[in-house]
């Protein structure tokens, strides 16, 4: 069945990129430098270049269903090489935000819940705390992976490289009020 072009999705996503430097992704010429440079491309169901094309073409469902932007390693290799000066990494972040915001992402992806867990610990404590991070999402997923984590974790524990108590910042109340001035807490708390 044939599709037709809609451009609202492209505009929505663009609007999520206010502070990102670089050119807008509609300037993409599809040269593939990003996807050639991407260390994770092989594991993505669409290459970053294809995702850009799909966003520009308004193929919203396919984009949100894809794992591409959750697999972005944030290595910025694509961004610095793009001949059109597009910040592809920032675009990936934008898509992640869009997907969490609409809470629409492919079943079985770890990325989203990890991000949320991570974010929550920060806004609650001002610091990250590795131990609660692992379980908070791994339980949702394969037991095997969990044990592998544990194996590492215990070793680290022995070496005294894992904290036992969650750290907190002192002026936590200010900190939380500060965050409230940026986003209503509902989003993450």
């Amino acid at each position: 069945m044939s599709e037709t072009y809609t451009f609202t999705f492209m505009k929505e996503v663009s609007s999520l990129l206010h502070a990102a430097d670089g050119n807008p992704f509609p300037m993409c010429v599809q040269c593939g430098t990003c996807s050639g440079s991407c260390p994770v491309a092989a594991y993505m169901d669409y290459t970053p270049r294809q995702i850009i094309a799909m966003v520009n073409a308004g193929l919203k469902d396919q984009v949100l269903e894809s794992n591409t932007f959750w697999y972005c390693a944030s290595c910025y290799q694509c961004t610095v090489r793009c001949p059109q000066g597009i910040s592809i990494t920032e675009l990936m972040y934008a898509l992640q935000r869009y997907s969490i915001w609409k809470s629409r992402y492919r079943e079985g992806l770890i990325g989203p819940s990890f991000s949320e867990a991570f974010a929550k610990t920060i806004v609650r404590t001002g610091r990250t705390f590795e131990p609660i991070l692992a379980p908070s999402y791994i339980f949702k997923f394969k037991l095997g992976e969990f044990f592998r984590e544990i194996q590492n974790a215990t070793e680290l524990m022995i070496k005294g490289r894992l904290p036992l108590l969650p750290p907190r910042i002192k002026r936590l109340e200010n900190f939380k009020r500060m965050i409230r001035r940026i986003i209503p807490m509902g989003g993450v708390e």
């Binding site: 990102a20 944030s74 969490i100 990325g111 920060i122 590492n152 680290l156 894992l162």
Partner: protein, 288 residues
């Protein structure tokens, strides 16, 4: 005596505690003072950008504002923290509206960031601010014959766009030569280790770790030197997993460059947190 505002970042509290201690030891020996920021918060790493861009900048801006009060250049040992600080500062300088909004939030903590602060990575501080010559002049136990793979990783370099520098930087090599070691040439020195993926897409991350270890070993590296806790944990803690996954037999110690500099400066191993690594460095360091 040169002084820097020092933002350790969450990982250095425990996970990368040896980076922290070795950083403090070596800088003291080199006559540089690291003044830890009071009540700093997590920089949000990259994951925060997955939730809210503005908030991600704000988290970092708080630390920058605290640092700015000291009037010193701020230095971060973790590449993720560094990248966040470097670009938050840059964006806020370049975009008054962004700065205004963020400063509005910072008021809640009686803070304000005006934008004039120099953000440095700990490695840049050693390799460029202090400089190889200065360091060379202070070393007592040169790491002769030690073949070290300098691993830059991503966010210490990118997304800055000064191409020649970021695609083929040399300053890590120069630093290693300065402490008497032999930096090895290998083409993946600036490639990603997959740090931020190890949780969310394990296979991808492990492959990336594999490729790196492979490439380093092929060029005959005894040790991999890192400048980022994420990279260190990834390359080291997951060697076992890699071996299980790919049936390889890697056991390459991965040390922080500060630990190596420390050794060359004659600082006792325990003071450098050596021994806390999962892949023991002892075989390599035995002689020293």
């Amino acid at each position: 005596m040169k002084e820097y505002a020092y933002f350790p970042g969450c990982s250095l509290e425990k996970l990368a505690v040896s980076y922290h201690t070795s950083a403090l030891e070596t800088t003291r020996k080199l006559g540089v003072k690291l003044k830890e920021l009071e009540d700093w918060n997590c920089c949000g790493s990259t994951t925060y950008f997955h939730i809210d861009e503005l908030l991600a900048y704000t988290l970092t801006a708080r630390n920058l504002a605290i640092a700015e009060k000291t009037g010193l250049d701020v230095v971060a040992p973790c590449s993720a923290c560094f990248k966040n600080m470097y670009f938050t500062a840059a964006h806020m300088k370049g975009d008054p509206d962004l700065a205004e909004h963020i400063n509005f939030a910072l008021e809640e903590d009686d803070l304000h960031f005006s934008g004039d602060i120099r953000v440095r990575h700990l490695l840049e501080m050693f390799a460029q601010d202090i400089g190889p010559d200065e360091i060379k002049s202070k070393i007592t136990h040169p790491l002769e014959g030690m073949r070290i793979a300098p691993y830059y990783g991503c966010q210490i370099l990118r997304p800055r766009r000064d191409h020649e520098e970021i695609e083929n930087p040399r300053y890590f090599e120069d630093l290693l030569s300065a402490i008497g070691a032999t930096p090895i040439e290998y083409s993946l020195k600036t490639r990603c280790c997959g740090g931020s993926l190890i949780i969310s897409s394990r296979t991808a991350a492990l492959t990336m770790v594999r490729n790196l270890l492979q490439c380093a070993r092929d060029q005959g590296a005894d040790v991999i030197a890192t400048a980022c806790p994420m990279c260190q944990v990834n390359l080291e803690c997951y060697q076992q997993s890699v071996n299980q996954e790919f049936g390889t037999d890697f056991s390459i110690p991965v040390l922080y460059f500060t630990q190596l500099v420390g050794l060359a400066l004659g600082i006792p191993k325990n003071k450098l947190g050596i021994g806390k690594e999962l892949v023991s460095a002892m075989p390599v360091l035995a002689a020293r």
